[in-house]
């Protein structure tokens, strides 16, 4: 609802020395990120995130208590496939997915539940700036934690089973490159899923059901025809992982999308989703009733 009385450039007596728009937006974004990062890492809600991100590390570390089952896994090269299974099946599809869901849905939905979103809405900050500040803070939290999960679980697995071979693999062989690629995929997953769950949290009062539907869609991706596979985040991420595992006898095979398409596609998709979210957030009202 636009006013006919617009006079938006009128300065206010008590306003901040606002400087240029970009420098002001930067200051505001950093201020928002300051609090939000603290919340993402230190609030009670962060406990679940630590649980999700830390679970593979704990599980794999517990394996270290037992002697390596060398009979079952004599071939060092099999480890690449084992980790690809752990990464694709557990870390990427489940832990990062739900970790991002938890963090990014709560960026706005959590504040509505806590009845504290109005403090942001009552500040002279563009809502798009608020959205970006919150998104970046969520991104930092998830990237830090899930990169540690990705790298940590890979290193634990390799060094637990084959410490000597692993040293050579990571420092002289392809291991280092694979590790960085997995971490890169994790970062892209956080970027893509983060944007998806941010907008889900903005649009839905109860985002659990749409979240579960998305989870189902991402899981059945291997059954979908090639065209539909592309309407998902997981397809592009799976195309980027360094070791491809078999998706089973029922999988519909499709060529992986090359990295030069996958990465820009994911970033473009994220940009579009954030743009839509920023259009929506300008129209968001706060009543808290019923939330």
């Amino acid at each position: 609802m636009e006013s006919t009385f617009e006079n938006d450039e009128q300065p206010a007596a008590g306003s901040a020395n606002r400087g240029s728009s970009w420098s002001l937006w930067m200051r505001q974004t950093l201020a928002i990120m300051g609090l939000e990062i603290k919340k993402n890492f230190l609030s009670r809600r962060a406990f679940l995130l630590y649980l999700i991100a830390g679970s593979p590390l704990v599980l794999l570390s517990m394996l270290a208590l037992f002697p390596p089952p060398t009979d079952d896994m004599e071939n060092f090269s099999q480890l690449g496939m084992v980790y690809a299974g752990i990464y694709g099946g557990l870390i990427l599809r489940t832990l990062i997915f739900f970790g991002c869901a938890w963090v990014f849905m709560n960026l706005f939905r959590g504040e509505v539940v806590d009845r504290s979103l109005h403090y942001y809405f009552l500040a002279p900050v563009r809502r798009e700036v608020l959205l970006i500040g919150k998104y970046l803070s969520g991104l930092i939290a998830t990237i830090v934690l899930f990169s540690l999960t990705t790298a940590g679980s890979m290193l634990i697995l390799y060094f637990w089973l084959y410490p000597t071979e692993s040293r050579g693999f990571f420092f002289q062989g392809a291991g280092g490159g694979q590790l960085f690629t997995y971490v890169g995929v994790t970062i892209l997953a956080c970027i893509g899923y983060g944007a998806v769950f941010l907008i889900v949290g903005l649009f839905f009062r109860n985002p659990i059901i749409p979240g579960l539907l998305l989870y189902g869609w991402e899981w059945i991706n291997f059954l979908l025809p090639p065209l539909l596979k592309k309407v998902s985040v997981i397809h592009y991420l799976q195309s980027l992982v360094p070791v491809h595992m078999s998706e089973g006898p029922f999988a519909v095979l499709a060529e992986p999308t090359p990295a030069w398409i996958s990465v820009p596609s994911l970033l473009l998709f994220t940009g579009v989703v954030l743009f839509l979210a920023s259009l929506h957030i300008r129209r968001v009202e706060i009543s808290y009733a019923g939330d």
Binding site: M1, S3, A13, G14, N17, G19, L24, D114, Y120, I286
Partner: protein
């Protein structure tokens, strides 16, 4: 005071067209203007066809629960979007928060704070979001906390504060950036009599300095004490607006009922009955409170302070009860062929 006919600081215009003409003839960037504003929550009416001009000073929005006070305030601050009509706050649309909140502060009724925040940290943080530097934020926070007498508790966690202290923190946050418009939703809720008097004094100072204060209240004697003008709302409609003296006569006729939650209410009852304007005193069913009806609440508050000190009573809260207000409304909106 009769509906829509009281002496008015801003002569009400009877139609939107007349209202637009009236607004156009004045400097709209010096006023808060509602032009034919309606808000519906689905099929439920929030406010309907509100035409209003608010000038500097204290304007009270008065009405029983559900009358549309908070809706008007949320519309003015952009937390809600009008279903139809236009709003301007000193020439700026509330749909542009980046501009409007440079000159507007809103102390809402939402009693919630970020987890683990201290009063100082909470206010400082939101000043940083405004774009103030760290040093400016620190100074402004100090000034705001000083104004609401919260400096001593500034570094304590808000979660440990009483309702009144939390109210004062919210108030400090809303005035910290020195806005020229201050919107306050039931700002005296939960405050003890001393704090009420102090905060009302602060409001008066701000209004005298040329600020616009829009205050919602369902407590008529408070409105009488602090307002320059009142807007009386009922079921989403403005039923009357104008200067406050019209309300004053009505208040004098109607005793106000106050609930004092405390231990040993019987002692309090005995003492309050000594007060000549006490009409009725009734102990609450749970024996942890006292309903008092009085025609002079200010005198009662003074006496209350004395009794609390003398008998070392533990008072949890002092709050007016709605019923009497509703009675006054019924009177106001039905008398003289009113619209009730």
């Amino acid at each position: 005071m009769t509906p829509n006919t009281i002496s008015s600081t801003t002569e009400p215009a009877s139609t939107p067209a007349e209202f637009r003409t009236a607004v156009a003839s004045q400097a709209f960037d010096k006023m808060i203007v509602f032009e034919d504003v309606s808000k519906f929550y689905g099929e439920v009416l929030g406010v309907n066809r509100v035409n209003l001009q608010i000038v500097p000073g204290i304007t009270s929005l008065v009405g029983p629960n559900g009358s549309g006070k908070t809706t008007l305030m949320n519309l003015m601050t952009g937390l809600l979007k009008p279903t139809s009509g236009r709003i301007s706050v000193l020439g700026t649309s509330p749909s542009h928060p980046e501009t409007v909140f440079q000159k507007l502060g809103y102390c809402s009724q939402f009693d919630s704070f970020p987890h683990g925040a201290t009063a100082r940290g909470f206010i400082e943080f939101y000043l940083r979001v405004h774009g103030f530097t760290t040093q400016e934020s620190t100074e402004l926070t100090h000034q705001a906390l000083e104004r609401v007498s919260m400096l001593e508790a500034a570094d304590s966690k808000i979660s440990g504060f009483s309702k009144g202290m939390r109210q004062r923190v919210r108030l400090a946050q809303s005035i910290a950036h020195n806005p020229s418009v201050l919107v306050l939703d039931e700002p005296l809720n939960g405050l003890d009599p001393m704090a009420r008097a102090e905060i009302i004094r602060l409001f008066r100072q701000l209004a005298d300095a040329g600020m616009y204060l829009i205050i919602s209240s369902h407590i008529l004697h408070e409105v009488d004490m602090m307002s320059d003008s009142v807007v009386l709302l009922h079921n989403g409609y403005i039923v009357a607006e104008g200067e406050v003296h019209g309300v004053r006569d009505e208040i004098d006729e109607h005793p106000i009922q106050i609930l004092i939650r405390c231990d040993r209410p019987q002692i309090l009852a005995a003492r309050l009955f000594e007060h000549e304007h006490t009409v009725e005193a009734r102990i609450h069913d749970d024996r942890q409170g006292l309903f008092v009806k009085t025609r002079r609440p200010d005198d009662l508050y003074l006496l209350l302070n004395k009794v609390i000190t003398e008998h070392a009573l533990r008072v949890e809260s002092v709050a007016p009860v709605d019923d009497d207000l509703n009675a006054v409304y019924q009177y106001l909106i039905t008398s003289d062929g009113g619209q009730g």
